[in-house]
């Protein structure tokens, strides 16, 4: 800057240029504080995880940690469980959530029911975590409401003996507490967009309800539905808080494995392993989110 100024004193033409240059680029100064914060707390950590997965404990390039992860059946099982839980809860969440969205969308547009449903879903989808675990335990836990009910009336049933609380089954049930509301939030705009004229046109041409859904409703909503499914998948796959507050020991899914590798309390602090496991997670989420973005583009074309 100072240099530009002294130069500009000598020549009025170049002065104009340099002022214009400064004017042109001074706008960039405005983004510097944000850029610094983002670099330290977002970009560098991301880089550190991805590059760290390819390093040994001394910081040299090496595939040894990644290789050891791939060869370790415990890590592979956890990874498979993570994928399973995500897939199962995304199927449950997207189907029930979509039906819920349809039921609300066919109601009043600015009705109280719609607003309450949206807010309640927002709480469960964005805020849940630890609190959902306690909601789950209060419902299905050993002293829970549902459990006591079934103990009284059907003591040998699935809900009467919740031996599955801390297993994959338990995780799937508690995850659906936030998956269904998330689906409701992201899918509601799509159902809102189903134009009544389409239905009228279908009826006018003699189409039945079944035909309307099979040939118009479902095909139109499919891209958005698949996109929402992917979003749910990434959401469940990334989730940690609910699982960690429910299952205090063991690494049944990959996020819990990462936290075990990370925690120094047990003396097993192994940042290299944590980074290698994290890389696996990032690859899955980035893949899923890329597909999601591509699908969204298709969706927004016809929703406009």
């Amino acid at each position: 800057m100072a240099q530009e100024m002294t130069m500009s004193n000598t020549d009025s033409a170049s002065r104009g240029v340099s002022i214009r240059l400064w004017r042109k680029h001074s706008a960039y100064v405005g983004v510097i504080p944000f850029l610094i914060l983002v670099s330290i707390f977002l970009l560098w950590p991301t880089y550190s995880v991805v590059s760290g997965a390819f390093q040994d404990s001394t910081g040299k390039f090496s595939l040894s940690v990644l290789k050891s992860v791939i060869k370790n059946p415990a890590h592979l099982t956890a990874f498979r469980h993570s994928l399973q839980v995500s897939a199962i809860t995304s199927v449950i969440g997207s189907v029930i959530g979509a039906l819920f969205a349809w039921a609300i969308a066919t109601g009043k547009k600015d009705g109280i029911l719609r607003r309450i449903s949206l807010s309640a879903s927002g709480v469960l989808a964005q805020f849940g975590g630890v609190m959902l675990t306690f909601a789950f335990l209060a419902t299905f836990g050993f002293n829970g409401l549902v459990t006591s009910f079934f103990l009284k009336f059907a003591p040998h049933s699935f809900f009467g003996h919740p031996t599955w609380l801390y297993s994959i089954t338990g995780l799937c049930i508690v995850y659906s507490f936030f998956q269904i509301p998330l689906m409701f939030i992201v899918f509601l705009p799509t159902v809102d967009n189903l134009k009544p004229q389409w239905r009228e046109a279908s009826d006018g041409l003699g189409g039945s309800t079944l035909e309307y859904w099979r040939r118009i409703g479902i095909p139109v909503m499919t891209p958005s539905f698949l996109g929402s499914f992917l979003l749910l998948f990434a959401n469940a796959f990334s989730a940690y808080a609910t699982a960690a507050s429910l299952i205090s020991q063991g690494s049944i899914i990959t996020p819990l494995g990462i936290s075990t590798a990370l925690s120094s309390e047990t003396g097993s602090n192994n940042p290299a392993l944590a980074k290698a496991l994290s890389l696996g997670m990032v690859l899955v989420v980035v893949f899923v989110m890329t597909l999601y973005t591509l699908l969204r583009r298709k969706v927004s074309k016809w929703e406009q």
Partner: protein, 265 residues
């Protein structure tokens, strides 16, 4: 003849789904009320609810989380929003990179971000501060996708360029233009982003627990290991608190959007 029949069937389906979902949403709430009012003797009582206030660590942690939420809101208002608006107005070339950065947290799970950020927080705790309030920095990264989305939606619905031009011709400073002219017009977007951010900060567990900071969720989880009743009571209370927050805000947003619509119409 055909129409009322299908209408009736739709109604039945609709009601069935709504009842089932309502049951599913209300069952845990009822279970939590039931669980948190149980006493050891098998009767009913508000012991667990009263005990919340006898947990100094829990109260302190709740205060920490509320302070964090306030700082993050401050960062949104004075850093994220001005930067996004600035780029939108003056640096169109940076729009795409900014969007990518803002959406990056969606591709990086919280647990992964902790792995990368642990060393930075170790450095901060040694050289700058051990305060849990330092979490505000990483929290402001987590909320970027939500803030960015609601912001960019409202920036596209208002002609910001004309507004900026007009305020400049009328002699407003850059500060005045950002905070006095543009910010009020995109208030709805900022607000909805801010509310989601409050919910996210108050509900955050992954990062704070693994960095050993005592936030609200970490304390609730800790209390839950010794006394389930208190944990369930405070969980229910905070779920309802955030629910009321979300119910209150969309109303004003809705009103504002309607105003905007009627103005443009």
């Amino acid at each position: 003849m055909n129409k009322p029949k299908t209408g009736g069937r739709v109604k039945i389906w609709r009601r069935t789904i709504l009842v089932l979902v309502a049951l599913y949403l209300l069952l845990p709430i009822v279970a939590m009320i039931n669980f948190s009012t149980k006493t050891f003797s098998g009767g009913r009582g508000l012991g667990s609810w009263r005990a919340i206030f006898q947990q100094p660590d829990l109260i302190a942690a709740i205060m920490t989380s509320l302070e964090l939420a306030a700082i993050v809101i401050g960062l949104i208002f004075f850093l994220v929003v001005p930067t996004v608006v600035w780029v939108h107005l003056k640096l169109p070339r940076l729009r795409r990179p900014l969007e990518l950065i803002c959406l990056l947290p969606l591709a990086i799970p919280g647990i992964v971000l902790v792995v990368g950020i642990a060393s930075i927080y170790r450095w901060i705790s040694i050289h700058i501060s051990e305060s849990p309030l330092t979490l505000a920095a990483v929290y402001s990264m987590l909320i970027l996708p939500y803030t960015y989305r609601s912001l960019s939606a409202s920036l596209h619905s208002v002609d910001v360029h004309t507004l900026a031009e007009a305020s400049r011709t009328l002699g407003a400073s850059t500060y005045k233009m950002l905070f006095g002219v543009i910010l009020p017009t995109i208030r709805a977007g900022v607000m909805s982003g801010a509310v989601i951010s409050i919910a996210l900060v108050l509900g955050e567990y992954t990062i704070s627990s693994l960095l050993n900071f005592q936030t609200m969720q970490v304390e609730i989880s800790l209390v839950g290991q010794t006394d389930g009743g208190i944990a369930v009571a405070i969980s229910l209370a905070s779920l309802l608190f955030v629910f009321l927050l979300l119910v209150a805000i969309p109303t004003s947003m809705h009103r504002e959007n309607k105003e905007l619509e009627s103005e443009t119409a």
